[in-house]
Symmetry: C2
Subunit: 556 residues, 2 copies
């Protein structure tokens, strides 16, 4: 196919945070790079996981050849079970990445049929017209790779997520040489991680957290409780090494913490000193000064080990006065309130809590800051550049960062959002059409499709204008409503804009209650109908909308 075009089709992660997924098409062959998930915003009550909409891949099912993974973070692999349940693609990734994928596939009963292919840095894999070389990069997770994809039209470099750590704790350096060699031979297109483009300078090395951790090991007189992301194998290694040095036993708490330490140990990526492990059930019987408890829950997730311990509701550990609790993590924007709530509870237990920004740091980022991004741009010297992995503001800034390369052969930069495509042929690169994209909300579980007519009708009604529920609390002794009625509502008007309307609506309900006769008020069936009718009239007049109105009478 001498006249085929290359198409880059972002299915997730461009112009949004998380669920990274990029399809690459040449003629009739498609490969997919990463299939991540995002954690839903708090507003999406009842949703656990959000994945990209894979409709484009479904529609081109017979052309999709493989899924290629850069590393094992949830925003790159969390959508794999959902993609594979739609089409059983061969999956390529490093052993650690695939081990994390296996765990997820097992949960969804997809492991037996999965076709998983282990790859290592500097290995090459040929898939249709694509020849893919895996290039080791440093990141907060072990075994992360960039992809150098040779196509009939030239080489595409996809960085995955990375930072350029000059002193990684496992001494596995970022493979600058391979990137440089590609850059020298000529690269058609660079796709590069934009997560930390806002940060000036260089991201600190993972090794930079050691002085702070060592200080805590040296000075804590009682139990040392450390929380970090369970996939931060480098961090866990530093904690284990220091625990051995300072004579503390280590207990891992939390399902994901237990599983990632086991996986990384099996693969030789985590070295566990002899006799250092402590069983969770033995924590409280060991001298506090001799224990270090490592648990998940840095983001204040309500059911996590640390959140439970904070309110003294963990079966294996009680936080006591004088204990030191360390959050070796960042605060993911949007999680401040649950995190600070958890820290307040820990402070009330008398713990000393170490968190946030400090120098030396208790946490370092896994993503490249602007100087590292420039280094990679300069090494690769691409003809075209397309920033990936970030919100629009970050992609735009990353594109601006590349402008000096205009003098080094850079012909154009493309800031695309998920669903917008880029087309490349012999003439060059240009924006092309849109494809179907979106977000699929998943609750852990499966769907049952027998739903009754009336239920369907309610849902249709709800889908049009949401619901409004006036709640009237009745004193069961006096039979009277003593408080102003409450109103809760969803899917009707937004919180900010609806405040005034809801206030008036409460007054409408209160007035209906007041102006009813004694006889009416003894029959709550009648009252429900009256309230519904009055409120409906009011809301229709104010908004021209017809939400489902369902008065609730509560005897208290």
């Amino acid at each position: 196919m001498p006249d085929s075009k290359l198409l880059l089709i972002p299915l997730g992660g461009l112009g949004e945070f998380g669920m990274n997924c990029m399809a690459l098409r040449y003629g009739d062959d498609i490969i997919v790079i990463d299939a991540g998930m995002m954690f839903p915003e708090a507003e999406l009550l009842g949703v656990d996981i959000v994945t990209p909409d894979f409709t484009y891949l479904e529609q081109n099912r017979e052309h999709v050849r493989a899924l290629v993974l850069t590393h094992g973070h949830e925003d790159h692999i969390g959508g794999v079970p959902f993609l594979l349940s739609q089409m059983n693609l061969p999956v390529y990734g490093t052993p650690f990445t695939l081990a994390l994928v296996e765990r997820r596939l097992e949960e969804h009963d997809l492991l037996k049929t999965a076709q998983l292919h282990q790859v290592k840095p500097l290995e090459r894999v040929s898939i249709g017209p694509f020849s893919i070389e895996f290039v080791h990069v440093t990141h907060s997770i072990v075994s992360a790779v960039a992809l150098a994809i040779t196509t009939p039209l030239g080489v595409i470099i996809h960085t995955g997520d990375f930072k350029v750590d000059p002193t990684p704790t496992d001494n596995e350096l970022f493979d600058l040489h391979t990137l440089a060699a590609y850059g020298k031979r000529g690269v058609l297109l660079l796709l590069s991680d934009s997560t930390n483009v806002d940060r000036p300078g260089y991201t600190e090395s993972e090794r930079a957290v050691r002085p702070r951790l060592e200080d805590l090991f040296a000075r804590s007189e009682r139990r040392l409780v450390i929380s970090c992301f369970s996939s931060s194998i480098h961090r866990l290694q530093q904690i284990l090494d220091l625990a051995a040095e300072y004579g503390r036993k280590v207990a891992f708490l939390g399902r994901s913490m237990l599983s990632t330490t086991e996986i990384s140990h099996d693969l030789g990526l985590l070295s566990i000193p002899d006799n250092i492990l402590l069983r969770p059930q033995d924590i409280m019987s060991m001298a506090p000064s001799k224990t270090c408890v490592v648990m998940s829950g840095t983001q204040g997730e309500p059911m996590s080990a640390l959140s439970r311990a904070a309110v003294d509701n963990h079966k294996n550990v009680s936080i006591e006065a004088g204990d030191t609790v360390v959050l070796s993590s960042r605060i993911i924007p949007g999680n401040e309130k649950p995190i600070y709530r958890m820290i307040n509870h820990l402070a009330k237990r008398g713990a000393d809590i170490v968190y946030g920004h400090m120098n030396p740091p208790i946490h370092v980022s896994g993503h490249a800051s602007s100087e590292e991004l420039k280094l990679v741009l300069n090494l690769v010297r691409p003809r075209y550049f397309m920033p990936i992995h970030g919100e629009y503001r970050q992609l735009a800034r990353h594109a601006a960062l590349a402008q000096h390369l205009r003098h080094q052969g850079l012909e154009d930069t493309f800031v695309l959002e998920t669903g917008e495509t880029l087309e490349i042929d012999r003439q060059g690169a240009r924006r092309a059409g849109r494809v179907t994209v979106g977000r699929v909300c998943i609750d852990s579980g499966s769907l049952d499709d027998i739903v009754e007519d009336i239920v369907i009708r309610d849902r249709r009604h709800l889908s049009e204008d949401g619901f409004v529920l006036p709640i009237i609390a009745i004193n069961k002794h006096t039979g009277k409503s003593e408080n102003l009625p409450e109103i809760v509502s969803r899917g009707f008007v937004s919180l900010e804009e609806g405040a005034d309307l809801m206030k008036e609506a409460r007054m409408v309900v209160a007035k209906t209650l007041e102006t009813s006769t004694h006889e009416e008020r003894t029959d709550w069936g009648v009252m429900q109908e009256k309230i519904r009718a009055d409120l409906k009239r009011f809301l229709t007049k104010q908004t021209s909308r017809r939400p489902l109105i369902m008065p609730v009478i509560l005897e208290v």
Copy 2:
């Protein structure tokens, strides 16, 4: 009354963020220091403003002598109209603080009857047994004061909010001398601002933002749009001075921006260079390189000037490619998502957006960091110390910061939360009983027809599996749930089939309530999450469906 006791009664702001209010009682005389509001958490559906519950003051109505204000920020004066509508107290404050209060009282039609008394630094006011001296402090708002309250049992120093700015832009230095003189004579109790206790070192001077602002004025080739808090008069002065120097006209946009600039100009606190003001309607007809637009909306508030401009929906200004938009402010935790959403829109318009941490800074805090807090502790050398203004974690850390004063006469520190009281008599200070406190939610605002994404998403969710609302009635006196929880539902399962299921679901919720620890039960945010998680697990298991679950907590 030789044997009277002093009582400190925190009605808001201790162990929580915002709505600062402290009552001070000696015998039969009570004064109230500040009456702030807080902005509600997302969990409080449809609520705009939260104020302290003033029940304690109501119950002691005949003893309450005055309200004394430290400065004009909303978390110190936002509750004044609600307090004054319950009892028309004399109000003491600096002219600027009172001018801001007047504006709020006018909105509530309370201005005519209000008794406002202007005070100035170093003035003294006697109220019953209290003699109050006003002490100038530096803060992000002008005309902020600390209070030195002489009582029959000794002197109480209340810092208000402050930082120790060594080079304030108006050259009005923090009055260290007066605090030192009190410290030398002996202070019974210090109450000090804990907001920034987590920060090491010193907070930068307000003057530190000038180099960054100057750089932006010097380099921006087109329109310069700056957003900051409308009460940051120091910041506005710097912007006006630079605009004059660099030959740009200044247009102020937004109701609060117009009103605070007018107030501060009238009081001689803001100097406006001649002929510099530009009317909003003339912005777009002026050369972009000759204009500077100053507007409110740094927190991404949906109806603010900047948010409207970001989506090109402001009647006076359009953001165009090449314009520079500056957020001279911090991101208040919890506001990340709306702020980043707004920045993404601005980036799509081609604007260059300047925000976040950088050096030199584009924003500095108004609150003292740990070294400044120690300086004030050391100057005042109190016999007792009680940290104020902060969440528990901050109060606890501030108390720990004072421990070195144990060798300088500090007898005890008290970490109290709102509602817990401190009693002082000739023998000393000790914790005393609890008083009624709480949060009063107030709705206000305006309605607009634009339906936001979240509303649409809710509808989509509702359309899939309907909703289930557990309603838990809490006795506001005991804080306990006395009845079996109610559950209402639509669009989920049919009534006939659902009856048994709902009965079981009520038991699930009841069990969650019972098995929670006392600490969990005091935190309804935690409880809402637990109830939602448990109910979701139960319903998914029973039906494989995922309705929208929204626990409603009702105080009755």
